[in-house]
């Protein structure tokens, strides 16, 4: 039994208690962490592109697994230290092998499309991590895939890995103009049946997705995985009605719905406070949420039956939740 440390985030549901087996520096700011089962058991397998949520200190963050997902003796993630971020990455960077951590089971939100004839992977910076997983799986299964990797000179994480893995299938770009040129060419020469996957900073993904749309790629061929805690805008103020008591809670701009509920004395389970873990889900009775999370699927977002209250807000004045 491990003692439960005083923490502001509750324990993960159904989590795995793992031991940090290895720490490797990839670049001056990117470090890889490998977790194993303390008893040496195999870990649950996962779909390529899956992420885990790592609980360290009082923080919980989502990180992409970099393996192919089969024969999973270990989970490996690569973490970019963000000094002015939420503190999760800095806390992780302090850990030494032997540390015990609570890690969620893998969750798939960025899976390869089984029927794709070719997978075009596009990554920037630390966005390489899910692509490594995709590429490894494609190689193992003999699926067709190629990778376009943009990184800043001297800061390319996993370069050796992807070079060895991809060979000819890799195109590296270290400046914006050569990337844009390569992107334009690539978007115009993919065989019908190709699916595109992009991971990187929001601005990078926007560039790729809009270039793809201009080149005639339909939305169902485009898959993106945002990462990090891109600061969400503070949002418009709104108020929410609590279905059970009829109480109305005001949510000012810059305050999350979760925080407003907590401040008014309501307990809502939460963990990541970034819209990735799924803990803070609340049923919506009425109104239209402004979905800003990474947890709900597109279909779930359109259905408007639930809201991730740590990041999402309301589009109209009539939001009512079951609380």
């Amino acid at each position: 039994m491990t003692a439960t440390a005083e923490a502001s985030a509750p324990a993960l549901h159904n989590a795995l208690e793992l031991v940090l087996a290895d720490v490797t520096d990839r670049t001056p700011s990117i470090r890889s962490f490998t977790f194993r089962d303390p008893a040496g058991n195999e870990l649950p397998p996962y779909v390529p592109g899956s992420h885990i949520i790592v609980h360290s200190g009082d923080k919980a963050n989502a990180y992409s697994l970099t393996g192919s997902g089969v024969l999973t003796a270990e989970y490996t993630i690569s973490v970019l230290r963000v000094d002015n971020g939420g503190g999760g990455s800095a806390a992780l960077h302090q850990l030494a092998p032997g540390a015990r951590l609570s890690v969620s089971r893998p969750r798939s939100a960025f899976a390869p499309v089984a029927t794709a004839r070719h997978h075009l992977l596009i990554a920037a910076g630390i966005g390489i991590t899910p692509m490594l997983s995709h590429m490894r799986a494609a190689t193992e299964w003999g699926h067709s895939a190629s990778l376009l990797y943009a990184y800043r000179q001297g800061e390319g994480a996993h370069l050796d890995d992807v070079r060895e893995l991809c060979g000819e299938r890799l195109l590296e770009c270290t400046d914006r103009s050569s990337f844009l040129a390569a992107l334009g060419v690539r978007l115009g020469e993919q065989p019908l049946g190709t699916h595109l996957y992009v991971c990187g900073p929001q601005g990078f993904m926007d560039t790729v997705l809009s270039a793809a749309a201009v080149a005639g790629w339909p939305p169902s061929r485009l898959h993106s995985e945002p990462f990090g805690t891109a600061d969400l805008d503070p949002g418009q103020p709104f108020s929410v009605t609590l279905g059970r008591s009829g109480a109305v809670v005001d949510v000012p701009s810059g305050t999350s719905l979760l925080k407003a509920l907590e401040d008014s004395g309501h307990k809502v389970p939460f963990m990541c406070r970034q819209g990735v873990c799924g803990e803070c889900i609340l049923p919506v009775l009425r109104g239209t949420p402004e979905h800003r999370d990474l947890y709900l699927s597109e279909a779930e977002k359109t259905a408007n039956n639930s809201i991730m209250c740590c990041v999402s807000r309301s589009r109209d004045a009539g939001l009512e939740i079951d609380l």
Binding site: R117, E189, L192, T194, A213, A215, G216, W217, P218, P219
Partner: protein, 173 residues
Amino acid sequence: MIPRHSSVPRPGAVPSPARAREYFAVSFGNEGFKESDAWLRRLDHSIQRQHVAFRTGDDAAAAALQARLASAVVGIRVVLAGPEADVYTLRALALRMGAVDEEVFLLVTPDGSRRVHCPHCQSTTVTDRPVGEVVVCTGCQKSLVIYHHFSRRTATYLGYMVDAEERAKEDAA
């Protein structure tokens, strides 16, 4: 009456052109040709297009589509215009060649023809009878009711044997 939630294709609003790098149209018959031609005219002038017209749906039409899609790159859109049976047959081919729904535009012209799949001998019978009526399967001569279940994959209506229940009772007796 066709139930509201059946899979039967219904002539709906004409789809609007989408952003694309090129359009490849295959049409069947006079009506199909006209529909397809008018639709392609709505596209921006800068967009490449190609229109191949056939009198009826046959292997030549399928071969033309297959040849074009085999070398196509993402960004292409396929326009299929003509009778339901022909249009859906080629749609199924386009999807097998890697196209997704959003890349295939269907302009169905009413000619009343439909393809009926026989679950007993697996053959397909072309008929102009409407849904709900009976057709004799060209494969096994069984009488099939044209059921309101349309397979978009095979472009056929499901047929079921009109007296299957009667037969079952007789067999049991």
